[in-house]
Amino acid sequence: MTKTLPALAIHGGAGTVPAHQLDNESRAAYHEGLRTALRAGWKLLHAGAPALDAVMAAVKALEDDTLFNAGRGAVLTSAGRPEMDAAIMRGSDRAAGAVAGICGPRNPVEAARLVMEQSGHVLMMGKGAEAFLREVGMEFLPASYFETARRRAALELELARRASGAPDIRTDADRHG
């Protein structure tokens, strides 16, 4: 089989902090978080690993970084707790796995891959998904592990706005995390 040139791209979300509000320290932290994820994926691709392993490694690195809205640092629902969604898909046979509305697995993308590889389904949601993930041995962390002061503050701001009826003038970052 002919070899192709490997390639990897990532995103950390389109809800960015406006340029004029981003101080140099925060800017550097975002770039470093992105580079950490790129290194995690590229190391695998460079070693000849499948693309599926590379995208999972890169997304896990972003889920572990509280700057980004996924895994640890996920935004909070109006009920004050995180509900996380994730998906993964392989292009050779269109195998796919996804989870919706879960809280517990450190890395939701890894949960999605377990759904793909061990459940016989594509998409699993909520309590049923969590029960399956426990059955297959996934570690569960408390909701407090995922919450950050920044997301709690963004939630309180939004709930206060809704209560007051003021117009939604949030930045992308506050809305989309």
């Binding site: 975002y30 809205n69 996380m84 898909m89 292009g91």
Partner: protein, 134 residues
Amino acid sequence: TVGAVARDVNGGLAAATSTGGYTAKRPGRVGDAPVIGAGTFADDASCAVSCTGSGEVFIRYTASAELAARVRLGREKLDEAASRLIAELGARDGEGGMITVGAEGAPVLVFNCSGMYRGYTDEEGVLWTAIHRE
């Protein structure tokens, strides 16, 4: 929302997306990230895609499957198709972005809003990252 797309040395493609949704969302609300063909898609015959943004719009327009179809049916090259599609989504209140990679060539990263945390590696593994339009 975070995501990744990759092509390996055997030409295999893959995509992954993960999210907390948006701040103060209603419990039970699910956006495009876990919906295959909306926020996440991969098919070696066309491309791998991961999206971020107004999930309801990306679901209704099956954003990532739409991009793959335009490439697979040979109507447009990947970068042209992605740029056109993200602009079309923007015109329908679908604010956000997408990253994609095909069977050959460099990854494509497009967005229709003020910025997107993003990055890619070139064939030598040189890292490139950005936040706003830079």
